[in-house]
């Protein structure tokens, strides 16, 4: 395979913020002493007056963003997913979600691909925590192009939005002229009639490779990139299940409460289908190079291929 361009979506986030900052005066960016890691430093360097470093105090930062939003500002709040969705959960729920304020949460370092920092910093629960909040939009972009588009879409949407970005560079898969990001609309990256693979974020690129391999085995896999987990593209999920009869979900998140659960919620109600949920199996992560962890926790192409093949032949 030819060398593909790889960019971490946190890098895309920082660049997109700086671009939006130029277009919109009302954008403000808040960070909690992680500007260099979340890449909000890109914005800070250009618009220091609209950047607020709240120090290591994420709960307050979310509340400050809520207050800014009441005055008409559009604050983008950034820290690691662990602290945005985890530590500050109740502030997000009560100070942002309940009053339905126009706050955007840009959470970086999601999932096990945080790598060496280990389990304390690898948030595999954020999608579950955020999607349960009424009115919260949850976006998990798969590559650089989608991440940048997501930031624009988050700005355009009036109301709270949670965006999930990663630390590990991921292949650019959306560099085509007709690419368009539509909030709440899944993207069919590959057509197929034998099985549907629904994925989000980091493993989407791997799922495309898996589909390639399955094709050689005579299995036509449909691949859906579900960049918006809430509101979920229910129609697309139901239609795909109807068409292929079998569904696999793949995410760098716990199999409890994330994309897999969201897909199962829809299918259980509208079109009961056997679903294989692939993700972090209700365990904490650990330290190690990100690429090794992705493999150890079964989200690399080889592991995904084996699991999905097993699922197909078992049925």
């Amino acid at each position: 395979m030819s060398e593909v361009k790889k960019i971490a979506t946190r890098e895309s986030y920082g660049k997109a913020l700086a671009q939006l900052g130029e277009k919109y005066d009302d954008i403000m960016v808040l960070d909690a002493d992680l500007a260099a890691a979340t890449k909000t430093s890109v914005f800070k360097n250009v618009y220091p007056e609209r950047f607020v470093n709240c120090g290591i105090a994420e709960c307050n930062m979310v509340g400050v963003a809520a207050g800014l939003a009441t005055t008409g500002k559009v604050p983008f709040v950034s820290t690691f997913a662990m602290f945005a969705a985890g530590r500050a959960f109740e502030q997000v729920r009560n100070s942002v979600g309940y009053p339905k304020l126009n706050v955007k949460i840009g959470a970086t370092h999601a999932g096990i691909s945080v790598g060496e920092d280990g389990a304390s910093h690898q948030c595999n629960e954020d999608i579950a925590l955020m999607r349960i909040i009424p009115g919260m939009v949850v976006i998990s972009p798969a590559d650089d192009i989608e991440a940048k588009a997501a930031v624009q879409a988050a700005y355009d949407h009036v109301g709270p939005v949670y965006m999930r970005f990663g630390r590990l560079p991921v292949p650019v898969i959306n560099d085509r002229p007709d690419y368009k990001f539509e909030l709440g609309k899944g993207v069919v990256l590959r057509e197929g009639k034998d099985v549907t693979i629904v994925s989000t974020g980091l493993p989407v690129a791997n799922c495309l490779e898996v589909a390639e391999r399955l094709a050689k085995d005579g299995v036509a896999a449909k691949v859906i990139n579900m960049h918006t987990i809430k509101p979920l593209d229910q129609e697309l999920v139901i239609a795909a299940a109807r068409e292929t009869g079998k569904v696999v979900t793949v995410e760098e998140h716990s199999v409890i409460g994330g994309l897999g659960s969201a897909v199962c919620d829809v299918l259980a109600e509208h079109f009961p289908t056997k679903v294989l949920k692939i993700g972090i199996n209700d365990v904490f992560g650990e330290s190690g190079p990100a690429v090794e962890l992705v493999k150890k926790y079964g989200l690399d192409t080889d592991s995904l291929y084996e699991k999905i093949k097993g699922f197909l032949f078992e049925i």
Partner: protein, 278 residues
Amino acid sequence: MNKLQLEQTANEVRKGIITAVFNAKSGHPGGSLSAADIFTYLYFAELNIDPDNPRKVDRDRFVLSKGHNSPGYYAALANRGFFPVEDLKTFRHTGSYLQGHPDMKGTPGVDMSSGSLGQGISAAVGMAISAQLDKASFRVYTLLGDGEIQEGQVWEASMLAGHKKLDNLVVIVDNNNLQIDGAITEVNSPYPIDKKFEAFNFHVININGNDFDEIDAAFKKAKEVKGKPTAIIAKTVKGKGVSFMENKAAWHGTAPNEAQYQEAMAELEKAGGLLCQK
């Protein structure tokens, strides 16, 4: 509004508190009554607000960080004309716009939803940062309980307020000395409160929060302070104005029964009558 008028209005606010909590058969009268004079001063003497245009852009903001004192807040807003005083009777009822804790989406005059302790002050800091950035004229006020300041988020917010030199921000602590489980000194003492805020780079003013002369002087002084936020530590009496509720932790979150309601209202009517004779 002069001092006598403020005292008369505060008495009406106290009647509103008792009425709301009695009709809801739940709610928090103790802290609402202790802060009734502060609510009254804010809404009748201090804030730049317009009941006919509750969302006007340059209005002063108020965040009730101790959101459970919504009866006091609502009674002040109603008496100021944001909504009918009669509606206080719907407090905490299903479908009412007067939720148990403030809901900015439904209640005219409410600038921020609050109630989960420690969170309101952060929103107030955000509002003040916005005004500072835009060089906007509005000022931001937030009222906290002395039990509430046990929440760590209060100090995260205070650190940022001091760091940002938010001289458009006034933090008021209703220091009635009681929280649900008893005296704040017995539960987990936050004292010395004034020195803590001083350490976070606030200008601190200690007052009797049930005395309009002292309240007036403190808020006037706060406007003169430059380069620092102000903290007004208001020593108050929990349950103030209803003798059997005064200084009793049990009245933190308990509604009066019919007989207690009658007794409380009679006492407030009498107090109102005496103020009329002044």
